[in-house]
Subunit: 187 residues, 2 copies
Amino acid sequence: MGNETNGFTLWFTGLSGAGKSTIAEIVGPELERRGILVDHLDGDVVRTNLSKGLGFSREDRDANILRIGFVAKLLTRHGAGVIVAAISPYAETRDAVREMIGDRFVEVFVATSLDECARRDVKGLYAKAFSGEIKEFTGVSDPYEAPEHAEIVVETEGRSPEQSAQHVITQLEQLGFIAREKEEAVA
Amino acid sequence: MGNETNGFTLWFTGLSGAGKSTIAEIVGPELERRGILVDHLDGDVVRTNLSKGLGFSREDRDANILRIGFVAKLLTRHGAGVIVAAISPYAETRDAVREMIGDRFVEVFVATSLDECARRDVKGLYAKAFSGEIKEFTGVSDPYEAPEHAEIVVETEGRSPEQSAQHVITQLEQLGFIAREKEEAVA
């Protein structure tokens, strides 16, 4: 697909509570400000429109990820800036999406540690996972296979979400997916 | 969406065997020849990538149609020529898709009669539906609600698929979705 499009898919992966959606929601408007037509494929949008009925078995998780990947591929071909925020715990499945989208796929590993995610526990899910009330919880009772060759790695600890988002934007500039903005406007 | 895109969704509806996919597969390349980037959302593509696991209950049929509609909407916004060929038997569900896509939605009713579809019976499905071997078969044991206000109506009886496809193209020109081609090239 590489030569026929300026589109790309920004694929945020990481543990529950790592900050994927929070960072993605800051990156999206910044891309739009730069003239890119952005699609967010995550959270409620995906659950309501693509994946209703799927659960948390490996098979269902994979179906969900491949379905998002399929739609991201179609949109990328039309020049979209697609933003996906999904735990996407399995390396093999993420690599299948990478294969579909080719060199317009940008894997963003939000590398917040399990300890830090559990400490923040924004939604109270880790407490329930550790107590066994929630089964099949990624990082606790279900695997998370961290990316080894992500295009962008975001270390969130000690950084604000805005700083993390800025890091993603800067990396996108350096990788050539978006144009560099001049430091100063030229008259 | 109207003003921000030249994209559109061509939604072929009609009975099984009416000729939806056959006509769509001729229309697609003609649109591409005219410089439109086309996405086909039908048949195996949808079954494999979006709707695996769905059956033929009203609920599952609706979920399938709404899911295709969701993806068509996203692509249309990016200027795609989206081609959908789906029985889509329920008027209410097609109207929900129309609502999502707005004035870039083009309903194409492939109006082949039940008698004619059953006579052709290309895939042998009608024989099985009439014998009861296949349950929930649209037009036989399940309803088909014909569109009353389709943008384009295709009468296939007595017409070749090529003629039907040409009718769709001509109507798209007249409705302003694609540019008219000159009768003769101008030097």
